[in-house]
Amino acid sequence: MGFFLEVLIGGLLAGVLYSLVALGFVLIFKASGVFNFAQGAMVLTAALALVRALDVFEQWHWPFAVALLSAFVFAAVIMAIIAWAAERLVLRKLVNQEGIILFMATIGVTFFLEGLSQSLFGADVYPLNVGLPKDPVFLLESLFDGGILVNELDIWAAVIAGLLVAGLALFFQRTRIGRALRAVADDHAAAQSVGIPLNQIWFIVWLVAGLVALVAGTVWGSKLGVQFSLSLLALKALPVLILGGFTSVPGAIIGGLIIGAGEKLAEVFLGPSMGGGIEIWFAYVLALLFLLVRPQGLFGERIIERV
């Protein structure tokens, strides 16, 4: 029982980490209908910019807090430039194209960003330490033999994800820009006709997605070291995304929890009898099963088709 709980909690926490990546996808899809495959590359770029800037600032003997803050600002500026370029050079030119074409274009952006970030910041592995604790802790040791093992970093990640979602929710519900974003998500043409500047809105939403990528990159980078594999996290986020629905921020979190717990439980309890390594496809199959019941994901907007 103790072990089951441990796997469950571990899975839920891992799921939150996937959600962090999935959130960026949701934001952009919601506001511009673009399935942004480049989110993984954005995580990589943001993390690389952060860790390299931090290294440089520390070499200049800046106090850690100042160095860290400046590095975050530097990475955020980089993400802003990317958002601007994406809107200017890609989205604006491809307005009104089919979704699949836009999707392809973001894969092009992925290749571009992967090449750019590695040639600017290097292709090595860079350890990242932003002061997040990384030690394991044992809970409920009195109840179960050996206790339930949880990693502090994962807990912090969950807290950060929670804050992020709350922040985004407030941003969407309470601010002027948030309202504009929701309007654009609802209907481009109608939003434009009441005077909402589409291009600005797209820039803002890509910027916000870039900042979410920066947060995801920080957490994952602290966990694994900043390196190219961060770019592959996109593939782990996709089942989360389809399960939760492309258009729902809470869906990304709940989808992450279900996928995380589901795949870890499957790997640990079913895996050994099937030869192991099943979690990747299990996540997708799990998402697929949910889709068969609800084709637009758990919280996605209902697709209404008219002939």
Partner: protein, 358 residues
């Protein structure tokens, strides 16, 4: 002037519905085939075969297969790499377990295995659409990756999970030379491409296109979505499976599951989109483009850099390669979202009026 169809009268429906109704097109196609079959074997070096021609020809077939599904039937699939793998491993198992079968028969039969699996993985498409379907097909991709590694029967209990193609022979001829590999691949691709061209012109193809354009409307006018979608999955998987078997037997020779990973799926998707959705010719153009571009960049960048006095390292080359590749894809999509095939037809239109455009 040279491309003028005036005076070419069609006296029968048959003539009007020919694949190439214009005489110049027929001639050009014929010339292309003659060059591909008769001239290339005399001029190509082994490097050109191995690095350029064989991959292009095989991947063209795979791209045509994916185009059937994406371009004609409108079902986005990211699992094509796995279907190439299914073809490869099916051919391998047929060759190992039924040693009396000729390897080329195995290649063809493997297509049917892939088609059967394709139908199974096509079932969710009856309910799920668009990007949800694209992501769902990743389930096929990752399940394939896993099965090729884990199910020991598939790899004939090889300890490492890496398998080899059997020696290629036909009626006692040794067909393992690059020229022979190329000709075999070309035969398969040309014959199957011709077959597909005829399928998409026929009633099945029209059903696919109706489903693509709007499935509910198609259903109302009497197209059975289940039949149309699953047949598209079957035909598409068949072609991709055959291409996968050729990729393994004719190109790699020995392979591991990573040869059919998700990167392969993306490459095929690029070919289809860059080439042009819903075009057989476009698939081939896309394959040529995507195979050649990295090789070209890889060879052209260092001399270019040296010319301006900059020593480019291997790492920089591949970073730049990645950047230019990404940028070019965006560029192409921006200027012509309908791909190279569309460019080709624009070019033809221009040629018809040339040299008097008004």
């Amino acid at each position: 002037m040279i491309y003028r169809e005036a005076g070419q009268y069609k006296a029968s429906y048959q003539a009007d519905q020919a694949i190439f109704p214009i005489a110049q097109d027929r001639l050009a196609m014929l010339a292309l085939l003659v060059i591909a079959f008769l001239v290339v074997p005399f001029v190509a070096s082994e490097y050109v075969y191995r690095a350029v021609l064989i991959p292009t020809v095989i991947l063209s077939l795979a791209a045509i297969g994916l185009n059937v599904l994406m371009g004609y039937c409108g079902q986005v699939s990211l699992g094509s790499g796995a279907f190439m793998g299914i073809g490869a491993y099916a051919a391998y198992n047929l060759a190992i377990r039924l040693p009396f079968l000729n390897p080329f028969v195995c290649i063809l039969l493997s297509g049917f295995v892939a088609a059967a699996v394709g139908i199974v993985f096509g079932i969710p498409s009856l309910r799920i659409k668009g990007f949800y379907l694209a992501c769902a097909t990743l389930a096929a991709q990752f399940f394939g990756d896993w099965a090729f590694l884990r199910v020991r029967w598939i790899t004939n209990d090889t300890p490492s999970g890496s398998v080899n193609a059997p020696p290629l022979q036909l009626f006692g001829w040794d067909l393992s030379s690059p020229t022979a590999n190329y000709l075999v691949a070309l035969c398969f691709t040309v014959v199957l491409a011709l077959g597909v061209k005829n399928i998409v012109r026929g009633h099945i193809g029209r059903q696919w296109m109706a489903i693509r354009d709007m499935d509910i409307a198609a259903e109302i006018i009497g197209v059975r979505p289940m039949y149309a979608k699953l047949s598209a999955f079957a035909v598409s998987s068949f072609l991709i499976g055959v291409a996968g078997a050729m990729w393994a037997f004719l190109y790699l020779g020995s392979w591991e599951p990573a040869a059919f990973d998700i990167g392969r799926s993306f490459t095929l998707m690029f070919m289809v989109i860059i080439g042009g959705l819903g075009s057989i010719l476009g698939s081939a153009l896309g394959a040529i483009f995507i195979v050649l571009l990295p090789i070209f960049l890889n060879q052209a960048l260092p001399p270019l850099g040296a010319a301006v006095g900059w020593q480019i390292s291997t790492a920089t080359v591949s970073h730049f390669e990645s950047m230019i590749f990404g940028a070019l894809i965006v560029f192409f999509l921006v200027v012509e979202p309908r791909g190279l095939a569309r460019l080709w037809s624009i070019g033809k239109e221009k040629l018809r009026l040339w040299p008097f455009p008004h």
